[in-house]
């Protein structure tokens, strides 16, 4: 095991009323890393965070901070702090006293407390808000107070449980940048829980994709996007056309009734596989130049590009392109070998189909509403 591991989760399992929530979870987190636990609601990501914080004790397995087992260590004696989903600021205390809460418990001298509170409020851009009551602050400001309060006690690891879930889109983007820069400034390890894949991709050093109490993939944002391990990851992160395919041999894959050269190897001869092609990786060409031909069935303007649903022999593809097409147009499709990603078949393969019943709203619903986990 590497030396700079701060938190090590070993064979963690947990059940609620006989319902498995976490199944043999193994994960280690390096010092200074920005790790995101990403998954739909109910996947066990918040539970994992609560186990690290000490609010839940796992049924099996062990949490280690460095070399020390945390079994039986209550939350107040763990060197981690949490930013809660709904901020959990103390309504009976003003901004200053909220931030000073943990410092006072540590019985620091008054001047030291004042110095640190001032510094923390400066870091989160809330200088001058000391005397304000927390109820008078906006959601974004309350979130900043929560961050200042947690950072004031200088935790080794900061746990963030969907901290931006209650903010509107614009504010959320700003806060993402700010959190990232705070993490950079202070060099603290962040463990961040979210169901928002964009947030995960833009902020993290490492993404841990979870579903049904299990880790599906651990990797850098680029890894999980470009090289998803299974159909769940491919479907959950970004948009994906996932097709049923067969590998007749190395560097060759057959799907949609055609053979394509690809860059993957090491599969058994004629192994059945899942083929992932990202919507933006498909080249739209004149019908006669395409390997596949299809009919455009729906066009959506997305600002930076158009999004088409294209019927290719009954399979609905999603394709993104900057060139406009009209509904009913017949187009050609061409795919470069390096844009084809091959995955092993998994339990998810049959569950995830094409874009025949696709709508944005449906996608948002299925990618989990914020809140209860």
């Amino acid at each position: 095991m590497e030396k700079d591991v701060v938190i090590d989760l070993r064979h963690i399992s947990l059940q609620f009323d006989g319902q498995p929530i976490l199944k043999d979870l193994n994960l280690y987190i390096r010092n200074g890393e920005f790790v995101t636990l990403l998954g739909p609601s109910g996947c066990g990501k918040t539970t994992t965070l609560r186990i690290i914080a000490g609010f839940l004790e796992p049924d099996g397995g062990e949490v280690r901070f460095g070399e020390k087992s945390m079994r039986g260590t209550p939350p107040h004696r763990r060197p981690v702090n949490t930013i809660f989903q709904r901020y959990a600021l103390f309504p009976h205390l003003n901004v200053y006293k909220n931030v000073a809460f943990g410092l006072k418990l540590r019985k620091l001298p008054k001047e030291e407390i004042a110095r640190r509170v001032t510094e923390m409020l400066r870091i989160v851009n809330l200088s001058g808000f000391e005397k304000r009551s927390v109820a008078s602050l906006s959601g974004g400001q309350q979130q900043r107070v929560a961050i200042a309060r947690a950072l004031a006690v200088k935790p080794k690891v900061l746990l963030l449980d969907e901290p931006l879930g209650a903010l509107d889109l614009k504010l959320r983007k700003d806060m993402q940048m700010e959190l990232k820069s705070i993490q950079h400034q202070l060099g603290i390890t962040f463990i961040y829980v979210t169901h928002d894949q964009e947030e995960a991709l833009s902020m993290s050093d490492t993404i841990v994709v979870m579903d049904a109490g299990e880790i599906q993939q651990i990797g850098t944002p680029k890894d999980v996007y470009d090289e998803p391990k299974n159909a769940f990851v491919a479907d959950f992160i970004g948009e994906s056309n996932i097709l049923d395919g067969v590998m007749p041999g190395d560097y060759l894959v057959r799907f949609a009734g055609m053979r394509f050269p690809c860059v993957d190897k090491g599969f058994e001869k004629n192994e059945r596989v899942d083929v992932v092609i990202r919507p933006e990786d498909v080249d739209v060409v004149p019908p006669q130049d395409g390997v596949l031909q299809g009919t455009v069935t729906s066009v959506t303007f997305k600002g930076m590009h158009y999004e088409f649903i294209v019927d290719v022999k009954g399979f609905k593809w999603m394709i993104q392109s900057t060139d406009v097409q009209r509904e009913g147009d017949v187009i050609g499709i061409s795919i470069k070998p390096e844009e084809i990603h091959i995955m092993k078949k998994s339990a998810y393969s049959e569950l995830i189909g094409d874009y025949s019943c696709f709508s944005d709203e449906f996608e948002e619903l299925s990618n989990a509403a914020p809140g209860e986990d």
Binding site: H76, R86, A88, L89, F90, F101
Partner: protein, 280 residues
């Protein structure tokens, strides 16, 4: 939230207030400041404080009433707070059962509850029979200050427990977790989060116990005997024995002012908190 309600909807409430609050209050004030013929006079108050002896006995009655009520309120708070805390932290079914346990005595008539304490505390009562059976000396309990305070605590405990429970139940568990997360031990959470945040409940509980305690007469009569004369007894006597409505009204007015004064002190504690549990 500033929606204008129709005056028609207000009418029954206004009528209620007028009939049962304002009119009686007006009558108390009227009687306190009038002589038997109905003319304005300050004679009643002057008579109450005419001699040093009268002043001393009045101060004595008021002082003891306050003291008894304060003791009962303090004991109620000490009993009710842990009870409410325990209730707020137990499961739904335990909560229901405990609530029932608190409510059941309130379904019984207050006079019967108080009277039945006599048979328990009596010189030949339940407790003393038990002591005698164990060959222990009998203890005098009935007609002692302790019995009066016990009666108050017994009757008014629910009014302390329920508002505290209500406030505690609304306290978000994530606040407790946040405090633990920042380094607070179990006691630290209680001292720095739970207690300060349940102050509104405590304030309303104190009000709801103190006010009836300070003005009660039945409890002191039945459990305290003739030795303990509380202000409630004195007022009752003026109305029902001496038929001196004017003096009774004057005493009531003084008591009311004292209560308002106490309420104002209490209000300082509940100010700044968002809960509307405080009742005046």
């Amino acid at each position: 939230m500033k929606k204008r309600s129709s005056p028609l909807l207000n009418a029954p409430y206004m009528l209620w207030c007028l009939l049962f609050v304002l009119v009686p209050m007006g009558m108390v004030v009227f009687y306190a400041f009038s002589d038997r013929q109905g003319g304005f006079t300050l004679e009643i108050f002057r008579a109450l404080t005419a001699t040093a002896e009268k002043r001393a006995s009045l101060a004595h009655v008021f002082g003891y009433s306050m003291l008894y009520a304060l003791a009962a309120t303090a004991i109620c708070l000490l009993l009710a707070y842990p009870l409410a805390y325990f209730m707020a932290h137990s499961g739904r079914s335990a909560q229901r059962n405990l609530m029932l346990l608190i409510m059941v005595p309130m379904w019984m008539n207050f006079l019967i509850c108080t009277y039945s304490w006599r048979t328990i505390l009596n010189d030949n009562g339940v407790i003393n029979s038990l002591l005698g059976w164990l060959h222990l000396p009998a203890v005098r309990m009935l007609f002692t200050p302790g019995a009066v305070i016990l009666g108050m605590v017994y009757n008014f405990l629910p009014y302390m427990a329920l508002p505290i429970f209500t406030v505690m139940q609304k306290l978000s568990p994530s606040l407790v977790e946040a405090a633990q997360d920042l380094g607070a031990t179990g006691f630290g959470v209680l001292r720095k989060v739970t207690l300060p945040m349940s102050l509104p409940g405590i304030a309303s509980g104190i009000t709801m116990v103190f006010v009836p305690s300070v003005s009660t007469f039945y409890i002191s009569q039945k459990l305290g005997g003739s030795k303990t004369m509380l202000i409630g007894d004195l007022i009752e006597m003026q109305f029902l024995t001496a038929y001196d409505y004017n003096t009774g009204a004057a005493l009531s007015l003084i008591l009311m002012l004292l209560i308002v004064l106490c309420m104002m002190v209490m209000k300082r504690f509940s100010d700044g908190s968002e809960e509307g549990a405080f009742v005046v």
